[in-house]
């Protein structure tokens, strides 16, 4: 399997074409952009007693970015904030090509291992996760001038 085939795995295209939890319901939101390429992702989450009850996303972007948003919503639902942050950190290591232990925690998100071979795409794969991270940290990022 070459690098490209490894990057564009079936599961990524599947989530891109048939995204899970797409559409916002009005929970607290964070929106992030990759202005150069046009990725524009909003994540929202409902947190009760430290547990992520629900995550949704909306936006547009490349398949790497949008599919990772979709996979993220499934992966982190039901996790505590602490668990979620640990998984997000692990995911960042994965896409940067670092060695990680406990791959099973990343489940389907392991397909993004291929991203590390494409440094220009790391920010695509990270964008939805960065947005969620801001929500977990209680930050509000929208800036207008």
């Amino acid at each position: 399997m070459n690098n490209l085939e490894n990057l564009y795995r079936q599961v990524i295209i599947e989530h891109y074409k048939h995204p899970r939890n797409k559409g916002l319901k009005g929970f607290p939101q964070a929106r992030l952009y990759n202005p150069s390429c046009g990725d524009d992702i909003t994540m929202e989450t409902k947190i009760d007693s430290g547990i992520i009850q629900e995550i949704n996303f909306d936006g547009t972007g490349c398949s790497i970015c949008c599919s990772s948003a979709s996979i993220l919503t499934e992966l982190l639902k039901g996790k505590s904030i602490t668990e979620a942050k640990k998984i997000i950190a692990k995911y960042y290591s994965l896409i940067k090509g670092e060695v990680i232990d406990g791959e099973e925690e990343l489940a389907e998100a392991m397909v993004y291992q291929g991203v590390s071979k494409f440094p220009a795409r790391i920010k695509c794969a990270a964008l939805p996760w960065k947005a969620l991270e801001q929500l977990l940290d209680g930050e509000n990022n929208e800036q207008k001038s």
Partner: protein, 408 residues
């Protein structure tokens, strides 16, 4: 006679990457050895400050610097005194909005721009209009996405004080009928600011013939170094505005409460200039003059036509600007985000741009999430086009395969 092989030999990047297919020329052109040599000559032979030292080396540096300005001014048929050095075209355009808009734009005035603009052409005016309670108007584009004289007339009236337009679209490659628009604008004394960042590398610019009030361009899109650009301003206009920045080198005499500023263009340039870059810029101009803008145009148009004729035979892609005037092809692989496709091109050693190209209004107008953009210049050849077209085909096939669709 134009010889792409010989031209390629002038660019050291091809020595390092002989198989490079560089099609991102609208963003930045490659740098030829003569430009690097000139910059190196400055640093290694007379690398001292200009306009200041009363010693031989400083005199030499100043002389070279003035010669460079003369040469770049000649390139657009402007006078020496009308050519201000800036960081780049964006910087030039922002300076004009701040210097002219701040002094002359009033509440109730209008500024005309278009959806074809690079962000650097219209954002400075968007901000200035907000500040001044002035109206920002957009020329409606025609069905192809062009700015037309007729559509300019529809939004132009006596309220319009400034017209800020691109000479050539950096996404669609259309040449604006700017000369006619300038003539119309002048009837009601509106000034016209031309963004010539894309135009400068491809078409002969004559500011006197155009009669534009201001014109901005960058060296790095025309074989020169990054970080240096120019702002042309008509003498009367430059004399009627105040410098944005004050400091060393731009003044004649200074007291505790007053200063007198230098003559134009020097009053607009404070601090030590990017001297090596200015010399490199002039060297790039000389190279372009040597090859000839006409020959450059012909070569690029030949490649452009060849590429378009090959792309027309392929299925699964959309070309947004088959009628472009300069060699820019904006396209998308159907159903594939431009950034996904760009990675495929990158793997094949083909550099092209993906996304909004700093012109989000164009993407919105095209109703797409950005485009892929291939743009050609003098060192590109038929082989580059063939590899580009082949990769387009492979990309279409690849994404069909991963999406589980059958090949037709």
């Amino acid at each position: 006679m134009f010889n792409a092989k010989k031209i390629r030999d002038l660019f050291p990047m091809y020595r390092l990457y002989p198989h490079l297919v560089y099609l991102d020329n609208s963003a930045t052109a490659l740098t030829p050895q003569v430009v690097l040599d000139k910059m190196n000559e400055y640093y290694s032979q007379y690398g001292v400050n200009i306009h200041r030292g009363v010693y031989h080396l400083s005199y030499k540096a100043t002389e070279e610097y003035d010669k460079a300005r003369e040469r770049i001014a000649d390139f657009i048929n402007s006078d020496f005194s009308e050519l201000v050095f800036t960081k780049n075209a964006s910087n030039s355009l922002n300076m004009m909005a701040l210097m002219y808009g701040d002094k002359y734009l009033q509440a109730g005035d209008a500024v005309i721009t278009s959806e074809l603009e690079h962000h650097s052409s219209f954002l400075p005016w968007m901000k200035m209009c907000k500040r001044k309670n002035a109206e920002l108007r957009f020329i409606p584009l025609n069905a192809d996405g062009r700015i037309t004289v007729d559509n300019f007339r529809k939004v132009f009236d006596k309220k319009v004080k400034v017209v800020a337009l691109t000479y050539v679209s950096n996404v669609l490659g259309y040449i604006t009928p700017i000369k006619e628009i300038i003539a119309l604008a002048h009837r009601h004394n509106a000034i016209v600011i031309v963004d010539a960042a894309q135009a400068a590398a491809h078409i002969k610019i004559d500011v006197k013939d155009l009669d534009c009030d201001c014109l901005a361009f960058s060296a790095h899109k025309m074989l020169g170094p990054t970080g240096i650009g120019a702002l042309y301003g008509k003498k009367e206009l430059l004399l009627s505005i105040d410098p944005l920045e004050y400091g060393g080198d731009m003044n004649n005499s200074v007291s505790k409460t007053e200063l007198t500023i230098k003559e134009i263009p020097f009053c607009f340039e404070t601090g030590t200039a990017a001297i090596a870059e200015v010399l490199g810029f002039a060297q790039a101009v000389e190279l372009i003059n040597g090859i000839g803008l006409k020959n450059i145009g012909q070569h690029c148009i030949t490649l452009h036509k060849y590429a378009l004729s090959k792309l027309t035979n392929l299925k699964g892609l959309t070309v947004y600007n088959p009628k472009a005037d300069i060699p820019i092809i904006s396209f998308n692989i159907d159903g594939v985000h431009p950034h996904d496709a760009a990675t495929f091109f990158d793997e094949s050693g083909i550099c092209l741009r993906a996304g909004h190209h700093c012109a989000q209004l164009v993407s919105k107008w095209l109703e797409c999430n950005g485009t892929l953009r291939a743009s050609f210049y003098i060192y590109n050849d038929y082989q580059d086009v063939d590899r580009f077209v082949e990769t387009v085909k492979e990309t279409v096939d690849f994404f069909r395969k991963v999406a589980g669709e059958k090949n037709e």
